[in-house]
């Protein structure tokens, strides 16, 4: 982290989806900042609200059925208040987005060159020739060996790894200060994943952008992130620098999750993996008061949970929601 400058500041963000006449928040009370030149990982399982958060930042949620409350501040501008026209000037120019499925994310009937060029059309004054040159430069930057050839190809003619490089080139086209990557390597093989993650790191070094990395893969987080926010049921339950999160996790959910990673230690008898009891409640069934993780750790006595758990800083840069962590122990362990 070269500078401490905040690129993006999210305050008390709520994103609610409409079910009939009611809105249910998929993202609830999320406050977080993205700094220049850092990779902020947002980790969570399905239903945690991590992708909804990403969609809300870039303003791509369905406006008819979604309600957004709170602030997303960028350069003093509250993005939640922007109209479509102004938002379109931010999208692709100030915020670039990388998606999970590289094949689906690209238009099947348009050459990849044209798709990258499209990013430049609406945000630069470059003439067509200059744009095409820029496209070739971008393809080269994302490690495509033969940019001339690739620019003329269609998505289905490329391998999965190359497609994801193209998707990254699209996101990078206007050198946005903020990049949101939503599960960028989930659909890829591990060797390709490693290359793509390296590429994202390299790009960040070159451009000093801030990257929000949305993922469920703790390995990917451990290898790339600077800071991590763990989401559960729409809320951030823990936020910490990456090394702290993995070496000294506090929140019961973080600890449970880390415990369920299949890891076999040398020479040890294979132990059963830790299983988090119960399931993530559906959006409509989510308890709106009290500790949302409470029913997943039923052996903990009621009195350790807060009425209204808040995210609080327990050490510099390390925030945990509520106080239940102070008393938490795994089932079968000694009570602290």
């Amino acid at each position: 982290m070269a500078t401490e400058e905040n690129l993006l500041e999210i305050n008390n963000l709520e994103v609610g989806f409409r079910f009939g006449d009611e809105y249910h928040n998929a993202v609830d009370d999320v406050s977080i900042t993205l700094k220049k030149n850092e990779i902020l990982a947002i980790v969570g399982e399905s239903g945690s609200g991590k992708s909804t958060l990403a969609t809300a930042i870039i303003g791509l949620h369905d406006p008819l059925n979604t309600k957004v409350k709170g602030e997303i501040l960028y350069k003093g501008l509250d993005l939640t208040k922007l109209n479509e026209k102004l938002y379109n000037r931010i999208r692709g120019n100030d915020i670039g987005m990388i998606f999970q499925d590289p094949l689906g994310s690209l238009n099947p009937v348009m050459t990849v060159g044209k798709q990258i060029e499209e990013s430049l059309i609406y945000h630069t004054d470059l003439k067509e020739n200059a744009r095409q040159e820029e496209v070739l430069k971008l393809l080269d930057q994302v490690g495509i060996v033969n940019p001339q050839r690739t620019a003329k190809q269609y998505p289905h003619e490329l391998s999965g790894g190359m497609r994801q490089r193209v998707v990254i080139a699209i996101a990078l086209a206007n050198k946005p200060p903020i990049i949101i990557a939503d599960e960028p390597t989930t659909a890829l093989d591990v060797t390709i994943q490693a290359q793509i993650l390296d590429l994202m790191n390299d790009i960040q070094d070159e451009t000093n952008s801030g990257i929000i990395l949305i993922t469920h893969d703790l390995g990917v987080v451990a290898e790339t992130a600077d800071r991590v926010a763990v989401m559960y049921a729409g809320q951030i339950v823990e936020e910490a620098p990456v090394d702290i999160l993995f070496t000294d996790p506090k929140h019961p959910y973080t600890r449970s999750l880390l415990n369920s990673i299949p890891q076999e230690l040398e020479g040890e008898e294979v132990a059963e993996l830790h299983v988090i009891q119960g399931t993530v409640p559906s959006l409509q069934a989510l308890p709106r008061t009290g500790d949302r993780f409470k029913n997943r750790i039923p052996w903990m006595p009621d009195e350790v949970f807060d009425e209204d758990p808040q995210l609080a800083e327990i050490a510099p840069g390390h925030k945990v929601r509520g106080n239940s962590w102070k008393h938490f122990y795994f089932e079968g362990e000694e009570e602290k």
């Binding site: 994943q193 390296d198 703790l218 290898e223 299949p262 993996l273 988090i276």
Partner: protein, 323 residues
Amino acid sequence: MSFLELKDLKVHFPIRGGIFNTIQDWVYAVDGVDMIIEEGKTYGLVGESGSGKTTIGKAIIGLEGVTGGQVTYNGVDVTNKARSRRSEYADYNKDIQMIFQDSTSSLNPKKRIKDIIAEPMRNYFNYTNDQEKNEVIRLLEIVGLNEEAIYRYPHEFSGGQRQRLGVARAVASSPKLIIADEPTSALDLSVQAQVLNFMRRIQEEYGLSYLFISHDLSVVKYMADDIAIMHRGRFVERGSKEKIFNNPQHIYTRRLLSAIPQIDPLNREQHKAERRAVEKEYQEQQIHYYSEKGRVYDLQTFDDQHWVALNPNDKIKQSEGGN
């Protein structure tokens, strides 16, 4: 001890074209694979997409035709007989079951859980109604679902629960081998843990074997005793889990292992440097590990319980690797 054997198994797919739609070329999805499955063991089959790992599973279970080689079950040649209705192959059909990445599509949405799980029992055993019901309830308990589940339909369950139902159904015919093709790839971490635990518990209870097909090396490492690494339709390396993870020999194996993200943020720069070094070696050295046509060499015995596909003429390389 061993009951299932694959000898030089080949599954080739024709590519058609030309004016008369004749066969122009072949895709060598699986191209000469040997494997011996013993009772009560778990075999990990690892490879990247397109390596042919799923095709092996499908060929054993009869979802792909075998082009060459042999599958023998208890010494009987059962190549391409998986779907035969003849009684001599009935044991083979009963004893080999498969579970898939997405159980949803393999669970009939119109049937109740009781009928779904009882179906293999009805095919292979003569249970009375009560026996059948008790058996279904017992299986559901093993995979952590309670008795009420039997009158419900598949869509009423979550992804992880459906995957466990898939396991329960595969177990219903008391098989000796379950082929599990990416059984937890679509699941969240905490749910994956549950499915893996149940799979292990079932193994202990029934003494069955697994052929665990996955791209996820950490899951395979957790589950398997023996591991085979696949590339281009062939095994590049095979051996006990310890040998593969602690002393990988083939450059492809080493590259795959080095690419697995490590949960060790304090040493990640070191991992990255190692990974880049292996990648560089892979780019420079890979010609020594593949024939001129890019084919993976035949496996050579490298060590006890460890086989590597090295160039048979390249003795120097081999002795180097032995160090």
